[in-house]
């Protein structure tokens, strides 16, 4: 069991000094747009991942006219008390302390305090390019398998080296096809490993996502998701060989696992083309809940769930289906934000569930 009991923010975003206690499992933050609801969720995210969810730089998270910030979190994990503190010094140097000890490798902290966040911007995962979906899968797989992250980093570096070489070769310098062979061999090694990880993982993950989608949408919509990779049908070696002259002309590597995607259909049409906003949101939640379940299965306890403004543009039925899972089936700690107090109150009363409402003004 993982429970954030208390958080205090100093000079973080729009807050000078503020703290909150979270005695219960479910906490809702309410207030008008711009009051800083998302900032609190992002601060919690900082405690779990040592960085912002939004991708904002640390320095841009310092309150105006201040120098440095501090986020203090007190936790209860399986009955043991822990603390995580993120400090941005005035010098711009970031420190992260776990149980009062500074850690040297931030990436080593990730996964110990797992959390899943959902924000309105995440809809890009559905509507955006394949890169968004790859990043989603990669982030999750990297949390599960350190080896995967290693392959991914090496693949990425080899790809940049290969693309540079293609460029130089087509410009007539560094004309060394032997060197290209050497880069290809290594790329194939890591590409194959990445493909296997993704293939094995996606089978179960896709069926989980589909199930969640059915639950949220009410069960009448037929979606199909599949993992698409050029390596499904061809060997990577063959792909690189066939494309070599094309790659030289393009000055980049045209095919490989860096072009993989999750292909999604609604009925017989591509999901992106035909899905309504409600359907898109449902699929986003389904993907995120599948992520949640995957992490939970691996960690043995529920990650934190951070839901930012998720009720907007979601019809009543989908909202109830989602909350049924979030509040009743899920056992982990939940933080959510909304602009409408009344909406939160009426929903929570329907579920007859204990929650804390924090009004921000």
């Amino acid at each position: 069991m993982l429970h954030l009991e208390h958080i205090s923010l100093t000079q973080f975003r729009n807050y000078d000094k503020v703290s909150f206690g979270f005695p219960g499992r479910i906490t809702a933050f309410c207030g008008p747009n711009g009051v800083g609801k998302t900032n609190i969720l992002d601060a919690i995210y900082y405690l779990c991942f040592t960085r912002s969810y939004s991708g904002r730089t640390d320095s841009s998270s310092v309150r105006i006219d201040s120098a440095g910030f501090r986020i203090d979190g007190r936790w209860n994990r399986d009955g043991q008390h822990h603390s995580t503190v993120c400090i941005l010094r005035e010098s711009g140097k970031k420190e992260f302390q776990v149980d009062n000890e500074s850690i040297t490798r931030f990436s080593g902290h990730i996964g110990h305090y797992p959390a899943v966040m959902i924000t309105p911007d995440d809809i890009e995962l559905i509507s955006g390019s394949s890169e968004e979906r790859r990043r989603f899968i990669d982030t999750l797989l990297s949390q599960l398998y350190r080896e995967y992250l290693e392959h991914l980093i090496r693949y990425g570096k080899l790809l940049t080296e290969r693309n540079s070489l293609l460029k130089r070769m087509s410009e007539g310098v560094m004309n060394d096809s032997g060197l290209l062979d050497v880069l290809d061999e290594q790329l194939i090694n890591h590409g194959n490993a990445i493909f296997l990880f993704r293939k094995n993982f996606s089978a179960e993950f896709i069926s989980g996502t589909s199930q969640y989608y059915q639950n949220i949408s009410g069960g009448n919509e037929k979606i199909s998701i599949s993992y698409r990779s050029v390596l499904t049908e061809h060997s990577f070696e063959q792909v690189l060989k066939t494309n070599r002259s094309k790659d030289l002309a393009l000055q980049r590597t045209s095919s490989g696992v860096h072009r993989d995607d999750l292909e999604i259909f609604l009925g017989e049409f591509p999901f992106k083309m035909v899905a309504s906003q409600g359907q898109r949101k449902s699929l986003l939640f389904a993907l995120k809940l599948a992520e949640f379940e995957t992490l939970k299965a691996m960690k043995g306890f529920s990650p934190l769930l951070l839901l930012d403004d998720i009720f907007e543009k979601l019809d009543e039925q989908r909202m109830m289906n989602l909350l049924h899972w979030v509040c009743e089936k899920n056992e982990g700690q939940v933080f959510l934000t909304d602009t409408h107090q009344e909406r939160i109150r009426s929903i929570m009363n329907k579920f007859k569930i204990e929650y804390q409402l924090i009004i921000l003004e």
Partner: protein, 205 residues
């Protein structure tokens, strides 16, 4: 920083160009030199100028040398059939200080990285090739950075030198090489030289 002397200012600026030396440290060094005798300082600057002017690179291994062939290559008790391939001269110094290596070196001058504009031709690969053939070498020990660029360099050279009799090994990983080797403690470095791996087991394939 305000100076009453143009000469002082130029000297401070000259020191401040050195890596890791800021203006404050530079001033401290210059003031120290000012306290010394004229002849002492002259000897100091001459040492540096002479080092720069007269230093050479060994024509066998490209290590720093005072003579055409460096003291390691010309030492009769060192095994010429065992060549340790490194990126820079700093790596030679680090390995030498372990006193555990009795072969010779080959300084490549870097690692292959098209991204940084470094291709095989910019490195001392061709001369390594010739050396291996003429000696002939029995074992090549690679002590390169544990990076993509380091790996690429090793694989590239291995392909070029495909010979049945040549044994190719790499020293145990986990330490950074290519300039950073000097920070690895001598025990660790000595151990990784002893526990070197045949290339086949280098990266799981």
């Amino acid at each position: 920083m305000q100076f009453s002397s143009q000469l002082l200012e130029s000297a401070v600026n000259a020191f401040a160009q050195l890596p890791g030396i800021g203006k404050k440290t530079a001033l401290r060094l210059v003031l120290h030199l000012l306290k010394q005798e004229n002849s002492q300082v002259e000897q100091f600057s001459e040492t540096i100028a002479s080092m720069r002017k007269n230093i050479r690179f060994c024509s066998m291994c490209f290590n720093i040398s005072d003579t055409e062939i460096c003291s390691i290559c010309s030492n009769p008790s060192r095994k010429k059939e065992m060549i340790c391939v490194v990126e820079t001269i700093r790596d030679v110094i680090a390995i030498e200080s372990t006193q555990q290596f009795n072969g010779v070196y080959h300084v490549l001058g870097g690692v292959i990285s098209p991204l940084d504009g470094v291709g095989p031709d910019q490195l001392k690969i061709e001369s390594l090739h010739n050396r291996v053939k003429t000696i002939p070498a029995e074992e090549l020990i690679f002590a390169l950075s544990p990076t993509i660029q380091g790996d690429t360099t090793i694989y590239y050279i291995q392909k070029k030198l495909q010979q049945d009799k040549l044994k190719i090994t790499t020293i145990a990983r986990g330490i950074s090489f290519g300039g950073e080797l000097e920070y690895a403690d001598e025990m660790t470095l000595a151990r990784s030289l002893q526990n070197r791996q045949p290339l086949e087991h280098y990266v799981s394939r």
